[in-house]
């Protein structure tokens, strides 16, 4: 009796470990995956390390074929870099860390070569018009709608200023979309400021901004300008609600880790939050300590989701044809992500967008929008 009980106990103890310890027998075949960065990406090494971990942990498909990474860093000409990557081997898919502008530059080449591309950070809506691109992150229309709705219906703010960077496609599109959505909901955009004003005459910039009574600021500017603006607001003891765009905190913490406290109490839209609970499978990654405090940050999360989606697509396509992989990636259903299950619809990830409030340099969930 004792032996039976002990055996049952051991059986149940190890029953849950299958997924983590399962070894797939190597088939000897290789599946080539491209990974493209921009060379001014200061986090390139960190991001590459994350993919190496994925390769180590889940580097084989169900049939034992091995995923091989080919890494390139685009200097000035993303297009030629991309083309060179495709010449190295027959790529079954490419994972891209290029921003919206560079991704749009690749449009013709992607469509000509019919190579499925997984875009991790490009949020511009036009990126989706490329038929072979799947986007794992949120997009600008979605982000703009969530931001407008949150400010209007949850923070009950009626008057707002937008600060944008006219030299940046992402900033322009997001600001325009936000303005349109916010007005539609009965909100008033008092003024739209260009960040150039902040560069030329900061005092005057603030003075103009204060001419009309506003309750909040919506920022679509980069981290450098965000830092300058917030410092100025602190100096003038000007208290105002601020909502800003995705990826800001991660980039800010990389560039100005000592000054990350400046972002405290700011609302931020993002793909994740710091207080989310990782899925069971993704928790394996915590042992790698990719970050000081474990695995998680937004980019790692998106990278995990893209790897997960890519593997699911490759597992379903014989010979890994570009057409098949692309079709699956753009319309996949119920893929296990880093936090929860997500689906794809016409190349867009159907997933929650988080509205977070920053506290102690961490994003704390306020709401999660599906």
């Amino acid at each position: 009796m004792k032996t039976v009980l002990m055996s049952l106990f051991i059986f149940f103890l190890f029953m849950g470990c299958n997924e983590n310890t399962q070894e797939v027998q190597a088939s000897g075949k290789k599946v080539h995956i491209g990974l493209i960065f921009t060379d001014n990406d200061s986090l390139m090494h960190k991001r590459l390390k994350v993919f190496k971990v994925f390769q180590k942990q889940w580097g084989r498909l169900d049939n034992g074929d091995e995923l091989v990474l080919h890494v390139v860093s685009a200097k000035k000409d993303a297009l030629s870099c991309f083309n060179n990557l495709l010449k190295e081997e027959k790529m079954s898919a490419v994972i891209s860390f290029l921003d919206s502008t560079l991704m749009l530059d690749l449009k013709q080449s992607i469509e000509k070569n019919k190579v499925p591309v997984m875009s991790i950070i490009a949020t511009h809506s036009k990126v989706n018009e490329i038929k072979y691109v799947s986007r794992i992150c949120l997009n600008n229309p979605w982000q703009a709608s969530v931001a407008a709705a949150y400010i209007r219906d949850e923070l009950f703010i009626s008057n707002i200023n937008i600060i944008r960077d006219e030299r940046n496609d992402f900033s322009l599109e997001l600001s325009d979309l936000f303005e349109e959505r916010y007005k539609k909901m009965g909100g008033r955009v008092v003024s739209v400021f260009s960040v150039k004003g902040l560069e030329n005459d900061p005092q005057n910039f603030i003075k103009k901004m204060n001419e009309n009574k506003i309750d909040a600021l919506f920022l679509t500017i980069n981290v450098q300008k965000t830092k300058e603006l917030i410092k100025l607001l602190h100096k003038l003891n000007h208290k105002v609600t601020i909502l800003t765009h995705d990826g800001l905190l991660s980039a800010f913490k990389t560039k100005f880790p000592e000054e990350a406290y400046l972002l405290d109490n700011i609302f931020v839209i993002d793909n994740y939050a710091d207080d989310v609970r990782l899925s069971t499978k993704a928790r394996i990654l915590q042992k790698y300590k990719l970050d000081k405090k474990g695995f998680f940050d937004s980019y790692n999360g998106l990278s995990y989701d893209s790897w997960s989606l890519l593997r699911a697509a490759l597992n379903r396509c014989k010979n890994y044809s570009g057409e098949c992989v692309n079709n699956y990636m753009r319309n996949a259903s119920r893929v296990e992500g880093v936090v929860e299950v997500f689906s794809m619809k016409e190349g867009n990830a159907l997933r929650a967008v988080y509205v977070n409030k920053i506290k102690d340099s961490k994003m704390k969930i306020r709401v999660k929008v599906y």
Partner: protein, 628 residues
């Protein structure tokens, strides 16, 4: 300070390293180095050289030298090695040799008493039998082995017959073990137990440990950890004697002397007064004051007498203490009466159910509580628990009849009452009693413990524990009766499951509590206990499902409170959500807050998004409110 001018330094191989230090001492003492074997071969031959011994040997050799020192009137100054913790502690010495040398050469010799046994003298302590976790372990054993041994001793703890004589008394008792010493030394526990002893009072002390259960021994161990030197009262289950002589008459008890020599009883210990002169630290002399005319002491109220000891020495100690025969008899008689049916019980059961039914219909917690005070259900249940424990078939049968009759009266009364009252909607008081969960089982278990505890203590027997029982039983019974009366089976099922859960939970908890309190050292009727436990296991399943249901609902509310949905640019806030499981389908009642109305297509999109987070098929019932 004056110092001794001539001394013998007696050493064995390990301590030869100190030869130079002793020879070149700064106290002007001329030391003659003598190898231990040379000294033991002819101890008298060194008398002319010196009469003081500086002793630095292993424990075994110290013992041998001590014998010779007593016989030939040598005085001793100890020079222990830093690893010899026992000796350092015993004479309050230092671990630094130079400091000990200074003490050992002081010309301040004092006489101390030693314990004599079979013509040998002992200066540390003597142990007989087992005193787990207090007695010293073999030093060479690893921590694991020591723990294993201690645990083994603990589980096989048993009392043995101890017949012994002091100088003026003969005692026949039972104990797990005893310790004899004539001064407090060693661990803080031993120090605390022997705190009133001195090596200069002409008496030695004995500590006897005689717990009546393992639990009591655990209590003894925990109590001596905070047993301070100021405490006047001995820990429970400990006895203390002081005498010049302890003659152990019982045979075959293992004896360990000075952690060195093993013997077995019968054995006699006598005190050799002023046996040897020694040098020790000032602290040692303060702890061992000179006393004359010290009286014999005998604090033995905790010891079982000759009659009582029979039940303790038969087998290993039970985990729980055994209640005294008198206490058991008194409670047993009360419970036997409680198990019998009488008219007052039926009347009170009827009245309390009627009151509870009215209270439930009126949705009045106050009236329901009033009904509880009247309800007499505690007595048969507690009797049932005792019957289960002791295997008293008659008591079990009576108690079961009484409970069954009470249930019948309550169900009939409440069913009848509900037929007479108008068919109003279920009140919140009623609804609260048709979805039992594991939490209700928790209520039942603690009520059961309270019931058995109050019943077994005379001083609190009339407390309100009965109300706690009634809280758990009468309202569910009344609700079940209402369900019967109204023909609503789900009300009857839910409420009766709650009643049954509570009945079984209370009975089992009370049974275990009685055992814990020592009313039986073993469950006499294993069949009835197994039956009750099996019933408990069976009802745990529906309770678990019900509990799971609550958790699901709570989690859904938590999730939906944080979740928002964006459908065709329409932002949707969920104000409230309620989940109902219907087979494999989840029906979710949602209250939405939004700006613009949703068309059919948008509602479908919303459903798909909510469905994404659930593996079960969902149906939505939606109410909307608008933001303007």
């Amino acid at each position: 300070m004056t110092y001794i001018q001539k001394a013998l330094f007696i050493y064995d191989d390990e301590e030869s390293a100190y030869l130079c230090l002793i020879k070149d001492n700064s106290y002007g003492c001329v030391c003659k180095n003598v190898d231990i074997n040379t000294f033991l071969n002819n101890p008298t031959s060194f008398k002319t050289d010196a009469q003081h011994i500086l002793l630095s040997c292993t424990n075994e050799n110290i013992h041998k030298v001590l014998q010779e020192a007593v016989k030939h009137e040598y005085s001793i100054g100890f020079l222990p090695l830093s690893k010899d913790k026992d000796l350092i502690r015993a004479y309050s010495l230092s671990s630094i040799l130079s400091e000990n040398l200074e003490i050992a050469l002081r010309d301040e010799l004092e006489l101390i008493d030693l314990i004599e046994c079979e013509n040998e003298f002992y200066h540390l302590k003597i142990r007989l039998g087992d005193i787990p976790l207090i007695q010293s372990m073999h030093k060479e054993d690893s921590f694991f082995i020591k723990t294993k041994k201690a645990f083994g001793q603990f589980l096989s703890l048993k009392l043995f017959n101890y017949d012994f004589e002091t100088s003026n008394k003969e005692i026949k008792t039972a104990a797990s073990g005893l310790m004899i010493a004539n001064h407090a030394h060693g661990s803080s526990i031993v120090n605390a137990l022997f705190k009133d002893t001195s090596m200069r009072e002409g008496k030695m002390s004995m500590i006897l440990v005689s717990p009546s259960s393992i639990l009591q021994y655990i209590y003894f161990l925990s109590s001596i950890f905070h047993f301070s030197s100021e405490s006047k009262k001995l820990p429970e289950s400990v006895s203390f004697l002081k005498s010049e002589k302890f003659n152990i008459l019982s045979a075959d008890i293992p004896v360990r002397l000075d952690n060195l020599i093993d013997k077995s009883s019968p054995i006699c210990f006598e005190l050799k007064k002023e046996a040897v002169k020694i040098n020790a630290s000032t602290e040692f002399w303060e702890k061992n004051p000179k006393r004359s005319n010290e009286k014999e002491v005998s604090k033995i109220s905790a010891l079982p007498d000759e009659k009582e000891r029979v039940k303790y020495t038969k087998a290993h100690l039970p985990f729980f203490a055994v209640a005294s025969a008198e206490r058991f008899k008194e409670l047993f008689l009360i419970l036997r009466d409680d198990a019998k049916i009488n008219s007052q019980y039926l009347m009170l059961m009827f009245l309390s159910t009627i009151l509870a039914t009215i209270g439930l219909f009126a949705n009045s917690a106050a009236v329901v509580i009033g009904a509880m005070v009247l309800a007499p259900l505690m007595t048969p249940i507690v009797a049932f628990a005792m019957g289960t424990l002791r295997g008293e078939e008659e008591m079990l049968r009576y108690a079961l009849y009484k409970i069954a009759l009470g249930v019948f009266v309550a169900l009939s009364a409440s069913a009848l009452m509900s037929m007479l009252l108008p068919q109003i909607e279920l009140t919140s008081e009623l609804k609260a009693r048709i979805n039992p969960t594991l939490l209700d089982l928790g209520v039942a278990i603690f009520s059961g413990i309270a019931a058995a505890y109050t019943k077994s203590h005379k001083s609190i027997r009339d407390s309100l524990a009965g109300v706690a029982i009634a809280v758990a039983l009468v309202p569910p019974l009344a609700t079940a009766g209402i369900g019967l009366g109204r023909g609503e089976f789900y009300v009857f099922y839910g409420a009766f499951l709650l009643f049954f859960t509570n009945l079984i939970g209370i009975s089992l908890a009370a049974t275990i509590t009685f055992q814990f309190l020592g009313f039986s050292n073993a469950v006499k009727s294993k069949k009835s206990l197994i039956a009750v436990s099996l019933l408990l296991a069976i009802i745990t399943y529906p309770l678990y499902l019900s509990y799971h249901d609550i958790i699901d609902k709570y989690e859904l509310n938590l999730i939906l409170k944080q979740n928002r949905y964006l459908v065709d640019d329409k932002y949707i806030i969920i104000k409230n959500a309620n989940l109902v499981h219907k087979g494999d389908i989840d029906v979710i009642h949602l209250k939405l807050l939004l700006r613009d109305a949703l068309n059919r297509d948008e509602l479908e999109q919303l459903k798909q998004k909510i469905q994404l987070g659930s593996k079960r098929k969902i149906y939505l019932h939606i109410e909307t409110e608008y933001i303007l």
